[in-house]
């Protein structure tokens, strides 16, 4: 009778993919089980640095981990890209919708597994103004043309400068996620020359965006399999 339903997270990913598609972005998913190198070290997050405390990591018994962020795909895709197109140069344009993990007690606002949307653009002379534009346009597509964005400085080891971005939706400001200009060490770990190339990256959470959009107060519904919830979308 009625057709079935796509998960609301799938829907928002689709909207984002369709937006980035127009600018030539590829889609890559990357592994959820990864090494410390791709998830931390390659992203300029050394083991003895306090910034690691920010993320509660699921370590596996074999020494690997569950990615804490889709950023693990940055160097994986970056070097894979360079590898595939041996001899060829950037641009690298990719978005990475995928599951990430945080080892923490869950509540209405925190989940142990959730989706992020990573974006990465590396080319000659990529600048911060381009990042601001692409984020604002993305959220206009997701939340409507009235949407306003604002940006403030922040700190992430893998970007320099780093930013956090906020969105005004129905009269209120919401914090959405982090982004920034890719740190030269990360570009270098992709096998590229950071003096020649620059780039931006971002990685907002997706459930949060869906929650803001529909006024959902409980993140655990997303993986509950509760059909009263899922069939509303």
């Amino acid at each position: 009778m009625e057709t079935g339903h796509l998960h609301p997270t799938t829907k928002i990913i689709r909207q984002a993919v369709k937006f980035f598609e127009q600018f030539g972005f590829d889609v890559y998913e990357g592994p959820e089980v990864d090494t410390e190198w791709y998830n931390f070290d390659a992203l300029n997050v050394p083991g003895d640095h306090p910034s690691r405390d920010v993320q509660d990591t699921f370590w596996l018994k074999d020494g690997r981990l569950l990615r804490t962020q889709t950023s693990n795909a940055q160097v994986r895709y970056g070097e894979g890209h360079a590898c595939r197109q041996a001899g060829k140069t950037p641009p690298i344009k990719v978005i990475v919708p995928g599951v990430c993990y945080r080892n923490e007690a869950t509540d209405a606002g925190h989940e142990a597994s959730f989706f992020q949307l990573e974006g990465l653009y590396i080319d000659e002379k990529v600048n911060l103004g381009q990042l601001f534009w692409v984020l604002e346009e993305l959220y206009k597509v997701l939340f409507g043309p009235e949407t306003k964005m604002r940006f403030r400085p922040h700190h992430f080891p893998f970007t320099e400068p780093s930013i956090e971005f906020e969105m005004k939706f129905r009269g209120k400001w919401f914090e959405l996620g982090g982004a920034g200009m890719v740190h030269p060490k990360v570009i270098s770990n992709m096998g590229l020359d950071p003096e020649k190339y620059s780039g931006y990256a971002f990685g907002p959470g997706l459930e949060r965006a869906v929650m803001i959009k529909h006024g959902i107060g409980e993140i655990r519904l997303f993986r509950s399999g509760d059909l009263r919830f899922l069939k509303q979308f």
Binding site: E2, H7, S51, A112, R152, H155
Partner: protein, 779 residues
């Protein structure tokens, strides 16, 4: 980090409202998480023009006030009001104590704002009447201009900015933003520096202790701190203990330098030794806990014993007490990683270790010591006998080249070299030709990109022009597109997509009958549910079936990764070590893969088997995959019982997504999807179980199902979900008529809905459909 506005003003001359200061800090990188105390800028000076009785309440009045820009009438219950009084008026939207003023209706009269008492202004506990200005004030101006109250800003300090973990540090940020000089003179406490005496410092590990400053103060009297000091500490969330300890805490919050005071007679000998602990050495810290140390941990020791864990916490054996009269004050610089390691292993994070880990200003250690010494002499009495400054190693920043052109290119700005240099100078950088030296309190500026961040913070993100991206043809070759196309096929057949948890608990693997050795195991799960990684999507779907007893049939599918040890797919374009021999990726090259994307589809309840069989057929037709590859599993009653499923049946198949995608690629199936969005007016889902009712109606043929559904939702706030399950026309309903049927789920957010309540809601819905759409209920 809590910062007191008045304290900040001791170092930076600024006249900023709380709101302005909040923005200034937040948009330069120091996020203000919370502002407490203080008077909101929307609270303004207003004069009472008229007082009239409230029509419905004897003790209340309606007062007309002049707010400078207009007149407003509000309700007021204060007994002390008089015409002509000038007071504080909170407009709608202003923050008063911990609430926001909204337009209230008080006994039937609207009140867009309120006059405030002293208590509501945070001035005192007096709530007997409204606050009345006695001095000359201007109507409409923010009250905060005239009343001196303090505000606490709770700041999020990022790990790279240890220098902002003090009032001096935050004041530096503010001063740089408003282009002002900092009011801070390091030489101020010079009088308290005394020649070295009998006490000697011996730094045995200069790599982990760069500097040790000490002072011996005799004749102190331990007592409670004076009120002003206690109030200041309490305001920023630090508990007062006694004068000497409070002063060490005060100076840390003031200048960022952690300090420690030892009871001198409890130190044997005349030597302070900074050494590594011996393996297994024990010390009881001032929190009363015995700590076992290893030989990489640094301690402060006398000739016989350790008296403190360096940079983390002092020892009980040397702690000051009520009878202490002579102290050794310590102001030292410990290496960041070493303190971090110790604090992490001992699971003991203190205000001191937190600051050392993030890096302190080595050049301020002596000033902090002398300031604390001065305060102790003034507050606790006593005199400084001797001071000792022992520098084992100078911690120096390196010069960074200012790449003006590259900075502009990275930011997308066109700043002149002078502008860029000016921002750096404002932040304390010393310039020399094309180079600059980061100030001693910064440990996070190493490359020109770091300078770009500094420049962008001061220039302001809002001023950076946005740059549009050029359109380009998409590659659209990723497997993602094929998977989404598959989802559309399943959705068209009535299946709902779910995401279930990728974890399994001990109990789960027993229920399913799995061997833990076949599973990827989490080493450090915080929640016991997250101990193993799933090796199949099926158990998750079974849980979904169990969770939704009021749905029949249940048709669900999931795309997701499963984990374990699988044969490697050699077609995958992953980099290998041979491509990057120099890189540290050897652990990547494994002979097996650890995860795989699967698709699982399940059906349960009415017609479940036929639906799944038809689904397989459609998938095979549309993807070109051989239908025999799909193995439908039917669960036995016993198995269903294990999952607590009451439905008579569950059918499921699970496949490698890669297998279907390959088939789609081979058969040339189009891989794309539409991104359409129907408006959703989301209804919150109750924690209590829903009641499911089915209703069938005869309605006009032209009426759409969504119109009917919307009316049902509009009629009953208890209706969480309305789903059409039948629609057909027949002559027996009369011409132009059709029959429609809906499942309706009713629930209450706060309790289980009773049968009676559900019946009432159903009647309401039937009535409403009859009224609006002339629908007749089929019995």
């Amino acid at each position: 980090m809590k910062i007191l506005k008045s304290w900040l003003k001791e170092y930076a001359d600024f006249d900023l409202s709380d709101g302005k200061l909040d923005d200034l800090l937040t948009y330069s990188g120091t996020l203000v998480e919370e502002v407490t105390g203080g008077i909101d800028d929307k609270i303004i000076v207003a004069k009472i023009l008229e007082i009239n009785p409230h029509p419905n309440a004897g003790r209340l009045h309606l007062i007309k006030v002049d707010t400078g820009s207009g007149e407003i009438e509000v309700v007021c219950g204060a007994p002390n009001i008089e015409v002509g009084q000038i007071g504080a008026f909170a407009q709608v939207g202003s923050r008063v104590l911990d609430f926001e003023v909204s337009e209230a209706e008080i006994r039937g009269v609207k009140s867009p704002g309120m006059m405030l008492s002293e208590r509501e202004l945070g001035l005192s506990s007096d709530h007997r009447g409204i606050y009345v200005f006695e001095k000359d004030v201007e109507l409409g101006r923010p009250v905060a201009k005239y009343l001196n109250t303090d505000t606490v800003f709770d700041l999020e300090i990022t790990p790279n900015r240890g220098d902002c973990l003090s009032h001096l540090g935050v004041a530096r940020e503010v001063a740089a933003q408003i282009d002002q000089k900092l009011k801070f003179a390091e030489g101020e406490f010079g009088n308290f520096e005394k020649p070295a005496g009998g006490l000697r410092v011996e730094i045995q590990n200069p790599d982990h202790c760069f500097k040790y400053c000490g002072a011996v103060i005799r004749g102190v009297k331990i007592a409670e701190s004076p009120e002003w000091l206690k109030q200041k500490l309490i305001a920023v969330g630090t508990k007062p203990i006694n004068n000497v300890v409070d002063i060490t805490n005060f100076v840390m919050l003031d200048l960022g330098q952690p300090l420690h005071a030892f009871d001198k007679p409890k130190i044997s000998g005349e030597r302070i030794i900074v050494r590594n602990a011996s393996d297994g050495e024990k010390i009881t810290t001032i929190d009363g806990v015995e700590r076992k140390l290893d030989n990489e941990m640094l301690v402060i020791a006398d000739e016989q014993k350790a008296v403190a864990i360096a940079g983390v916490m002092g020892g009980e054996n040397s702690a000051i007490d009520d009878n202490t009269t002579e102290i050794v004050l310590e102001s030292a610089v410990f290496e960041r990683k070493s303190v971090r390691r110790t604090a992490k292993i001992l699971k003991l994070t203190t205000d001191a270790s937190y600051r050392f880990e993030r890096g302190i200003d080595a050049e301020l250690a002596k000033t902090a010591l002398l300031k604390a010494a001065k305060m102790i002499c003034e507050i606790a009495g006593g005199e400084v006998l001797e001071t000792i400054i022992d520098t084992a190693q100078e911690e120096k920043n390196d010069f960074v080249k200012i790449e003006h052109k590259k900075i502009n290119e990275l930011l997308g700005t066109a700043l002149s070299n002078e502008q860029i240099d000016k921002y750096l100078v404002a932040l304390g950088f010393k310039l020399k030709d094309e180079m600059c030296l980061p100030p001693s309190w910064r440990h996070d500026v190493m490359i020109w990109q770091d300078l770009a961040e500094e420049v962008s913070r001061l220039y302001g993100f809002a001023q950076i022009p946005m740059v549009k991206m050029q359109k380009e043809d998409p590659p659209k070759t990723a497997d993602y597109y094929f998977k989404e196309a598959l989802k559309d096929i399943l959705v068209a057949q009535g299946f709902a997509e779910v995401f279930t948890y990728p974890f399994l608990s001990e109990a789960d693997i027993k229920t399913i009958g799995l061997n833990p050795e076949d599973l990827l195991e989490v080493a450090n799960p915080v929640q016991s549910e997250n101990k193993f990684m799933r090796n199949s999507l099926v158990p998750g779907l079974m849980r979904v079936v169990a969770k939704n007893p009021t749905f029949d049939p249940i048709l669900v599918f999931e795309f997701g990764n499963i984990f374990g040890s699988f044969e490697k797919n050699i077609d995958k374009e992953e980099p290998t070590v041979s491509d990057y021999p120099e890189k540290k990726i050897e652990e990547v090259e494994r002979s097996t893969e650890s995860e795989k994307t699967k698709i699982a589809v399940a059906s349960s309840g009415k017609g479940a088997k036929a639906v799944l069989e038809s689904c397989v057929k459609t998938l095979a037709d549309k993807t070109g995959l051989d239908g025999n590859v799909f193995e439908i599993k039917e669960f036995s009653r016993d198995e269903l019982a294990k999952y607590k499923i009451k439905k008579p049946n569950v059918f499921v198949f699970e496949l490698d997504a890669g297998l279907i995608v390959e088939a789609m690629k081979k058969s040339g199936t189009e891989a794309d999807f539409v991104s359409s969005e129907d408006p959703v007016s989301y209804r919150e889902v109750s924690k209590f179980p829903p009641v499911n009712r089915d209703l069938a109606f005869i309605v006009d043929e032209k009426l759409s199902l969504s119109e009917i559904r919307d009316l049902i939702l509009e009629t009953s706030k208890y209706a969480v979900l309305v789903e059409a399950f039948d629609e057909f026309s027949s002559d027996k309903f009369g011409s132009g008529k059709k029959s429609v049927a809906f499942h309706i789920w009713l629930e209450d957010l706060n309790k289980t809905l009773s049968v009676k309540e559900a019946d009432q809601e159903i009647s309401k819905i039937v009535e409403s459909l009859k009224d609006k759409f002339s629908a007749t209920l089929r019995s």
